[in-house]
Assembly symmetry: C2
Homo-oligomer: 271 residues x 2
DNA sequence: CGCCGTCGTGTCATAATGAGCAACGACTTC
DNA sequence: GAAGTCGTTGCTCATTATGACACGACGGCG
């Protein structure tokens, strides 16, 4: 699905004028090492993009030379390499994620009065990577950003973990016992599965006091490039944050904005 | 410093035969958005690499077109972009870090009998990203990988956090009170600073029972591209793991191996 | 307020470079 | 053992990147 003012990008595969075809192709190739396909061979790349085999071979070799790919010596297939880690770390360090999504969170918060939080999964938890306090003042003493939420409690976590493959969801109960934070925390496997099912069906998660007592929250899944990325949530004091579900359309819209900003190509050409 | 069998890489800046110059240049440019330099302009890139301005401009525009960079509309300077996140996530998903490092850890463990752990910083903790259990059997019931260690307790953490800028080290005491895990945990700011100083002076951290009672550990800093990346540690039961310091040279050597594997370009050309 | 210096962008001729073709060798499969 | 697949490499041609130059915008300085 495309945004209206995206139409200047004629085709993903073709290189616009004024740009370097070879470099562009290399980057395209690099990006196709994604969740769906983690390994590629020379011929596969050639077919995927309609390149000649020699082009594919040289592109892959160049990417490998700079460490963006690693060539499996046995299978002669390529996987993602350590330079991907280097640029990924550069991205994290840059803090651009926060600055890119904070305007969206600010708008959410302004329209609802609640705190807005973008969180990403992290070792059976969710980590707040960007947040804006609501007009009722901060929910906590300490800053929201960096906070970890357990996978099984609260809308922020449940909106994400509900969409995990069933097998991975089992992990929530595989290790140590599921912690109880309040008397409303859901700790029983069956009940949690039922919640997840409902979340998938209605497309959002709404919880009250599951992690922090007196905090109500509503959250939706955020996907990037079609893959679950994190969750976007609104949270506020149980007393004043009325009918959180009413904000689901707003959340959905904001989630799409975030997805768009995190899916590459922005301000590539002057408009 | 180069490894003996690295000599086929004549020069970082020149593109070997059989590779694509333009793609290689684009990747070089992408990699220079690192800790030291997070923003580059067209002219700066041109000077840095000896390119013509037009080349630099097109390289940057191409990288931006695919979302690897973002152009600041006002300053016309470039920063790292969301596609860097995409490939970084692909790297994490691939689990290559573990498979690349585990042979080294296995060798460490085999030579010492202790458990070997590679950990990276994570929100004032250290996270074990790869580990091999020692011959005395596992230290814990649950797997080492994924484990979080607090920043102020244990060699694994201290070997890393000792090298943080003093200002950032203050954060350890800025938030909640420093937790005490055993009677040997160092919780006083002055004493911890003294430990950090000693660690920097001797080049390694050695602790006994600071986090887990009855566990002795020794650790060294791991740097990638000259920047602190994580720590490499050996840990074993206090009773049987004698004179952990004796293994520091071994640890140093292994840390260098890891650094080399994580600094790109492996098996780029057949040897 | 206007000048100059700097920076990013665009143009154009040139030739260097990447594209495509085809052949080879290694390996797998039947 | 033969046929097919895959990755690699040499070679030729022209597509494409290159670099010198010029333009316009911006900002700092006099």
């Amino acid at each position: 699905m495309r945004h209206p003012d995206d139409d200047s990008f004629a085709d993903d595969r073709s290189t616009p004028d004024g740009l370097l075809q070879t470099a562009d192709r290399a980057l395209q190739v690099l990006l196709c090492f994604d969740r769906e396909r983690t390994e590629w061979g020379v011929t596969e790349i050639a077919e995927e993009f309609g390149f000649n085999k020699s082009i594919a071979q040289r592109l892959l070799a160049t990417l490998a030379h700079r460490g963006f790919l690693i060539a499996d010596a046995d299978t002669r297939r390529y996987r993602i390499g350590p330079s991907a880690m280097a640029v990924g770390r550069a991205w994290e360090r840059s803090g651009s994620l926060r600055t890119m999504v904070e305007p969206i969170l600010r708008e959410l918060s302004a329209k609802t009065g609640a705190s807005a939080i973008l969180a990403v999964p992290d070792n059976l938890h969710m980590r707040a990577v960007a947040a804006v306090d609501g007009s009722d003042g901060p929910l906590r003493m300490y800053p929201l950003v960096g906070e970890l939420y357990p996978a099984h409690a609260g809308a922020t976590s449940k909106a994400f973990y509900a969409y995990l493959p069933a097998q991975q969801r089992q992990l929530l109960f595989a290790g140590r016992p599921v912690a109880r934070f309040t008397d409303r925390t859901v700790t029983e496997a069956g009940a949690l599965e039922a919640d997840f099912l409902q979340i998938r069906q209605q497309g959002y998660a709404a919880t009250v006091g599951e992690y922090d007592s007196h905090v109500a929250a509503v959250a939706v899944l955020v996907s990037v490039r079609g893959e679950p990325y994190g969750s976007l949530s609104l949270a506020g004091p149980e007393e004043s944050f009325d009918h959180p579900e009413q904000h689901v359309p707003l959340l959905r819209h904001a989630a799409q904005q975030i997805e768009r900003r995190l899916t590459g190509r922005l301000r590539a050409r002057k408009d």
